[in-house]
């Protein structure tokens, strides 16, 4: 790195930023400094004010107080577009480009090369290709953007932003839906851009990635600045303490207590269960009071296994049994009828019904299970909803609030409540802690243990190996859409899981590069 962050002049300076929404003080006197050529992580729990700060800096929200300077000069953009013109570009988690237009059209939207009033398609494609080549991307730029992976869409959005002469690039949760290899591509590009002197703000929930990529960390909590540190000299425990403002003992709490189990009763079993072109046939036994973890890279068949087990996808071979009796699992309704529950990875699109209330979302699966003709009375609904709001500590504790207005962690709890209300025998949780702040994270993991102690069978998918190791009694490792290894007892540790995943990952990596 040519520019050491210390010596570099401050590129973007925000001083004394305050912003209120009605009575809620989202930001209070927050300072933020970004130096040229640095990658600066902006961290905090959900609701700490990260998004609000970004939106105030980029002019999406007007600010109540404070000033923003870019390269020493005061700027006050009135909209994201004005911010872009000033040189501050933002790429959000949900890429806001047009998936039905080609990559080239997206890159040059609003500024296509023209001649005689006609778009010069050839010229545009050539320039698009050259631009993406800078980012190590060699793709067909005339294909619709939507055909490409989220990673490539992100890179396209970044390329467009940088090409619009951005000096500051803000990346809001850019890695949330990327797999490891894609994250590496993104990080390589970020480092490259930083070398050119662009200042990058990186918002993420993944602390590993923050440590890997960032030079500096600014932590917000409850709308206030907690502090700014150099990443290299900030211990992880200290960082978590800054974010939470309290000791976080539970996350690493020992699992051993309930671990030395005897033979438990089988809840559901799957024999050479599979679907061609989806997941190779597998054998899986899920027992009462036991957590089975599914580990593997993105696309290794974890979610696919979960969907087959629940009945969201129909198997074309093998036999499923519940409590020993053979069953058919052809639809989610079948799964629900047999006492299964499934919290999908994509909470927003596959989980919650955003405009319905917390109460309605909680009773939905139970009501579907009971059928049309046996409606839950309003009193029963209220009773169920308030019981789970209390039990899972859903906040705000208002069952009549539309669930879309809750934070990610609380939405996840509502989904858990939805299934717990059906008194399930088996719960399938796909990435239950993804996109959730650290506090709720620990709570969800504690819940998983408690449910298991109550005799529930759990099948849990997670990309966080530390987490899987913490709560699993057995771990199934997947690779290339097949179950390749099952670890139990003392054999469960991150090293063994990685070893099972990584057997031929060198070959995979090589393949991806060619």
């Amino acid at each position: 790195m040519e520019n050491s962050p210390d010596s570099a002049a401050s590129l973007l300076e925000a001083r004394g930023i305050s912003k209120s929404f009605g009575a809620v003080r989202a930001l209070q006197q927050v300072d933020f400094t970004l130096r040229a050529g640095e990658i600066h992580a902006l961290l905090g729990e959900n609701g700490a004010g990260k998004s609000t700060l970004i939106k105030v800096i980029t002019g999406v929200f007007p600010r109540d107080a404070g000033i923003v300077r870019l390269g020493g000069e005061e700027v006050a953009p009135r909209s994201a577009k004005a911010a872009l013109q000033a040189g501050i570009a933002t790429v959000y988690q949900e890429v806001n480009l047009l998936p039905n237009l080609s990559v080239a059209q997206n890159l040059f939207l609003d500024r296509q090369p023209m001649r005689f009033g006609m778009v010069r398609e050839g010229e545009m494609r050539r320039r698009a290709k050259a631009l993406l080549a800078d980012f190590g991307l060699d793709i067909d730029v005339s294909a619709p953007l939507g055909n490409y992976s989220v990673a490539i869409q992100h890179v396209t959005a970044i390329a467009r932003a940088v090409d619009l002469s951005a000096r500051v690039l803000i990346l809001d949760e850019p890695t949330a839906s990327l797999d490891r290899h894609e994250v590496e591509i993104l990080f390589r590009i970020m480092r490259q851009l930083a070398k050119r002197g662009i200042g990058i703000v990186f918002v993420s929930h993944f602390l590993d990635q923050v440590y890997e990529i960032s030079d500096r960390i600014t932590v917000l909590r409850n709308g206030r600045l907690v502090g700014e540190r150099e990443t290299a000299s900030l211990l992880r425990l200290e960082l978590i303490r800054m974010m939470l403002g309290r000791e976080l003992a539970e996350t690493t709490s020992a699992r051993a207590a309930t671990r030395e189990h005897q033979a438990r009763e089988v809840c559901a079993s799957f024999e050479s269960y599979g679907k061609s072109g989806y997941v190779a046939p597998f054998n899986l036994e899920l027992r009462h009071g036991e957590v089975v973890g599914l580990a593997g890279l993105l696309g290794s068949g974890r979610t696919e296994t979960a969907r087959l087990v629940f009945g969201a996808e129909r198997a074309d071979r093998g036999q499923a049994r519940v409590e020993g009796a053979p069953v058919r699992l052809h639809s989610p309704r079948d799964g629900v009828r047999h006492g299964f529950g499934y919290c999908p990875e994509e909470r927003k699109t596959d989980g919650i019904v955003a405009e319905l209330t917390v109460r309605e979302n909680i009773v939905l699966a139970l009501q579907a299970k009971r059928g049309l003709h046996r409606p839950l009375s309003r009193r029963e609904q209220d009773e169920i909803a308030s019981r789970y709001v209390k039990m899972l500590d859903i906040r705000p504790p208002d069952p009549e609030r539309p669930v879309g207005l809750l934070s990610g962690g609380n939405q996840q709890k509502v989904l858990l409540a939805r299934w717990l209300a059906t008194s399930p025998r088996l719960l399938v949780l796909d990435e239950p802690t993804r996109g959730i702040d650290v506090g709720a994270h620990a709570e969800i993991i504690r819940l998983i243990r408690e449910l298991c102690d109550d005799g529930l069978a759990l099948l849990v998918i997670s990309s966080e190996l530390d987490e899987i190791v913490t709560y699993s009694d057995r771990v199934v490792v997947l690779r290339d859409r097949a179950h390749v290894e099952e670890l139990a007892g003392e054999a469960i540790d991150v090293g063994n899981i990685l070893a099972a995943i990584a057997v031929d990952s060198v070959a995979v990596a090589l393949e991806a590069h060619t």
């Binding site: 989610p332 629900v336 699109t349 939905l364 579907a368 046996r374």
Partner: protein, 330 residues
């Protein structure tokens, strides 16, 4: 219960009151009611009576729209059921006539539901098929003529009265209560709203989303058929070319005025019917005022715009800011 009589109905009730007040100005006798031969007469009764077909259509339409669908075929279904009713009226009992006409509506609804729920077609395209074909079917039934009838039973359905209330109005009220009882008395309402709000999530929660979608199109077909029978009974004949023409648009409008989003989810039966009455109150008012009917469309558009503006979250946010500014200055 909240969705039957929601707090959010204020904009619609206000709009109705304003329009009624305007009607009173252009026609001083607007609120006059008189009893004649055991039946109530007056402009208000006219509004209810004339508004019945669209009110019935909107009862079915609001459920379809709640599932994020739309049914463009209801006008054509009206023509089909009217044609069937008129053709059978003079030779069959009322029960047979009604069974045949409503049965046709049910089949039409099943067809639409099959295309949308089972084949996964986009609702607007799927129902466009029957919108076009349905009128053709109706013309085949009437053999291209206007079929008239004189069966007193069927005529009573369009022009009779029960305890002074016109029969069509009583039927519409009955259908509103029946639909409300079925939808809110069972879990149907919640499951329909969940399906419309997020079909994928609802499916994964074990909701039979296909069955929900099928059911709402069937109910919409039955409601449209009933509207068709009443329209035919009213004029004692069936005109396959014009019966129910463009009424699908009025029905959609009624639902939208009633505050149900075309993106599905939350719906209100009562407000949809109120929407139908708002439309009819305007129509009647313009007729009474003596303005040329050409103004009708223009005025309708203005009122719709006004109601939608009242509901717009952006505008209410703006209004909130204005009042807050005033509050701080004061």
């Amino acid at each position: 219960m909240t969705a039957l009589l929601p707090r959010r109905g204020l904009a619609q009730i206000l709009a109705l009151i304003v329009i009624l007040a305007v009607d009173r100005v252009v026609s001083p006798q607007f609120f006059d009611l008189r009893l004649q031969d055991g039946r109530l007469f007056g402009s208000l009764i006219d509004v209810l009576n004339r508004g019945t077909p669209v009110a019935l259509l909107s009862l079915g339409m609001v459920l379809v729209i709640a599932t994020r669908g739309i049914d463009l075929s209801v006008g054509a279904v009206m023509a089909i059921s009217g044609a069937i009713a008129a053709s059978l009226a003079d030779n069959h009992s009322l029960a047979v006539v009604l069974a045949a006409a409503l049965g046709a509506g049910l089949i039409c609804g099943l067809w639409n539901g099959f295309l949308v729920a089972v084949l996964g077609m986009q609702p607007i395209v799927a129902t466009l098929i029957l919108m076009v074909a349905g009128r053709g079917i109706a013309q085949l039934i009437t053999e291209g003529r206007i079929v008239t009838f004189s069966s007193p039973d069927l005529v009573w359905l369009g022009n009779g009265s029960i305890l002074g209330v016109p029969v069509p109005v009583a039927i519409a009220l009955g259908m509103l209560m029946l639909t409300g009882a079925v939808v809110r008395g069972s879990a149907l309402g919640l499951l329909i709203e969940a399906t419309g709000g997020n079909a994928r999530a609802s499916e994964l929660a074990g909701v039979g989303t296909r069955a929900m979608i099928l059911a709402v199109y069937v109910w919409c077909g039955v409601c449209a058929a009933l509207a068709g029978v009443i329209a035919a009974a009213d004029i004692m004949g069936a005109d396959a070319n014009n019966a129910g023409l463009w009424l699908e648009l009025d029905a959609i409008l009624a639902v939208v005025i009633g505050g149900t989003s075309l993106f599905g989810g939350r719906f209100s039966l009562v407000l949809a019917v109120l929407g139908a009455l708002i439309i009819q109150t305007m129509n009647t008012g313009i007729l009474l005022s003596g303005y040329p009917p050409e103004f009708n469309l223009l005025v309708k558009a203005m009122v719709v715009l006004a109601v939608l503006l009242l509901q717009s979250p952006k505008l209410s946010g703006f209004a909130g800011i204005v009042t807050r500014l005033r509050g701080t200055k004061a």
